[in-house]
């Protein structure tokens, strides 16, 4: 059985009275421990699809299932719990809390107050062992994105979502970040969307998205 599945998922936006579907009937499955790449041009609905899969947005029709359970049957608190415990996120922009150190920014991925050792280990593996106590503004863009990767990996999530995590990086750093995500995800699945095919070299499977639909 698949870990995460979209079944005829649609996401509708109403724009100046005109409705259109950013995600238009997508069905796909994510297997345990799989690296699934989703490739599509700008505006094709990649981010929207990722929000649906991760429960950050609710589909207008169709549904999303995690471990066989439709997300629509969960309440807000349960979905929050799912995002905190089972999912990890790397956003397009490396959002960090400016007043927390790199280490602390990683630690907030869990509510457990005693997770320092795990966070230090991850940051070490990401090559930031010397910069644990730096504030975000004292890190380079690539370093910040690696802190975000560490935050997404905290607590060994079952699924890691990455929304163009390489967008703000140069090509070499981008490839490095994807590679690190892939190496460190352990048993977790990785769902990554991008418009840049070269970032998906290590993907087990690539799905193409055009105008909110999966095309083959």
């Amino acid at each position: 059985m698949s870990l995460l599945a979209a079944r005829g998922a649609r996401l509708r936006y109403v724009d100046h009275g005109k409705e259109h579907f950013a995600v238009d009937g997508v069905s796909l499955e994510v297997q345990p421990n799989e690296f699934l790449g989703i490739l599509g041009p700008s505006g094709s609905g990649k981010s929207s699809l990722l929000y649906l899969l991760s429960g950050l947005k609710v589909p207008s029709s169709g549904q999303i299932e995690f471990d066989g359970r439709p997300l629509s049957q969960m309440d807000d608190t349960e979905r929050s719990r799912l995002r905190l415990k089972e999912f990890g996120f790397v956003f397009q922009q490396p959002y960090l809390l400016g007043y927390l150190s790199a280490l602390e920014n990683v630690r907030i991925a869990e509510m457990d107050a005693d997770n320092s050792a795990a966070a230090v280990a991850l940051l070490n593996q990401l090559g930031l062992g010397e910069k644990l106590h730096r504030l975000p503004h004292e890190l380079s863009g690539g370093e910040r994105q690696r802190v975000c990767v560490a935050r997404a990996l905290m607590g060994n999530p079952k699924v890691i979502f990455a929304d163009e995590p390489t967008a703000s990086l140069d090509h070499r750093n981008g490839v490095a970040v994807v590679s690190l995500l892939n190496q460190l995800r352990g048993e977790g699945s990785l769902v990554m969307v991008t418009h840049d095919e070269t970032m998906l070299a290590e993907a087990d499977r690539v799905v193409r998205l055009v105008d909110g639909k999966v095309s083959d």
Binding site: L56, F89, Y95, E130
Partner: protein
């Protein structure tokens, strides 16, 4: 490399603890706290200072707590019959009846000059009177019968800047005439305000030629009841009853309008400060929308984020309020030593009313802060914030 706190402490502490945010964003925490500190200090300070006026007046005339004063009206021969009637009919045991003469002089109050009674009694009555006014000792001696001499208490000495040998009444003395130069011969140690001479001197040299009476209850706790009883008993007759209750009533009436104005002013101040604070809080929270969105996106519930922000606000408000109270206390103590004490003006640095007045503001700020946060979170879309940077 920058490190924050010991490695050990950092390990267990929660990075999202409200106190962490407050400490590391001192640039925001300090102005917020500062506004509350200043406002609380202002409110508590103003109320204490204003309250010190009626308090001073009550303190100045507090000697009247010990006696029921009796004056005849329209017939100077009535003093003795009135005093006899009180002795015969009073439901409260009477300790002593004193015959005295009075002339009016002045003392300085925080709001200008106030009339004050210069009382003459015989030597035995003077001793009883002083003991009843809680005098613990005398510098100098008591006035001798018929001589231009006076004994005053310590607050009066401070207030008028008098020493042993100073003139208190005199032929050219403004506000305190006497044909002779009346000198201070003794200063009594008590917190009561007193000016005493011999009845013989006042009878000889002062108008009006009317004996007055003072009646003390056996149990000092019954004195107010005796006042009230006598006041009722002689209502409409040729007798005037003077008691501390009239001082209280007069000060209450005198300051009723002032307090009304004060309430409006404080109310407006609370409103203005609350508005200002809510604007500041709103701006600061607006700057944190990305933070809130990010936390929500990675799995914190609205309730958790809301609780955290509100806890921060509660901490700031409580800290500001407590510091404000301490600041007010410090400022009032300063005012007391520098301004009030040298003139014996009363000021209660721990005035409960003043501190109570400082409570509505922190509560209003909390309520408005809670309201604004709740309003923001009502329709909060973490994605809109995180991905599209709608701030």
């Amino acid at each position: 490399m920058r490190t924050r706190g010991g490695e050990k402490a950092g390990r267990r502490s929660n990075p999202l603890a409200p106190i962490t945010y407050l400490l590391r964003n001192a640039g925001k925490t300090i102005p917020l706290t500062g506004v509350i500190v200043l406002a609380v200090m202002l409110v508590a300070g103003i109320i204490s200072m204003i309250n010190s006026i009626p308090l001073s007046i009550r303190t100045i005339y507090s000697y009247s707590k010990e006696f029921t004063g009796v004056t005849p009206r329209g017939d100077a021969t009535k003093t003795l019959p009135i005093l006899e009637e009180i002795q015969a009919k009073s439901p409260y045991a009477i300790d002593r009846v004193i015959i005295c003469r009075v002339t009016v002089t002045e003392i300085q109050s925080i709001v200008g000059k106030w009339p004050f009674y210069f009382i003459g009694m015989n030597d035995a009555d003077t001793r009883y009177y002083l003991q009843r006014q809680r005098v613990t000792g005398i510098e100098g001696r008591l006035p001798r019968a018929g001589l231009p001499e006076a004994v005053i208490s310590r607050p009066v000495a401070k207030n008028l800047n008098l020493k042993i040998g100073s003139e208190i009444l005199g032929p050219t003395k403004e506000g305190g005439f006497s044909p002779n130069s009346v000198k201070v011969v003794g200063i009594a140690e008590t917190d009561r305000w007193l000016m005493l001479s011999s009845i013989e001197y006042l009878r000889e040299y002062h108008f009006p030629p009317i004996d007055l009476g003072m009646v003390s209850a056996k149990d000092p706790a019954e004195q107010p009841k005796l006042d009230q009883w006598a006041d009722k008993h002689f209502k409409g007759r040729q007798a005037g009853i003077l008691g501390y209750f009239q001082v209280e009533k007069d000060t209450n009436e005198m300051f009723a309008t002032l307090y009304l104005i004060l309430n409006v002013v404080i109310g407006t101040l609370v409103l203005v400060v609350t508005l200002m604070m809510s604007m500041l809080i709103n701006i600061y929270q607006g700057q944190r929308l990305v933070e809130f969105g990010l936390l929500q996106a990675i799995g914190y519930t609205k309730k958790q984020i809301l609780t955290r922000v509100l806890t921060e606000t509660v901490l700031v408000v409580i800290l500001g309020w407590v510091l404000g109270l301490f600041a007010a206390f410090g400022l009032l103590n300063l005012a007391k030593t520098v301004m009030m004490d040298p003139k014996s003006y009363a000021l209660d640095v721990l005035d409960p009313v003043a501190y109570a007045y400082s409570i509505p503001m922190p509560l209003a700020i909390l309520a408005v802060a809670a309201g604004t946060v709740w309003w923001r979170f009502r329709k909060f879309d973490p994605i809109g914030v995180v991905e599209r940077r709608i701030v």
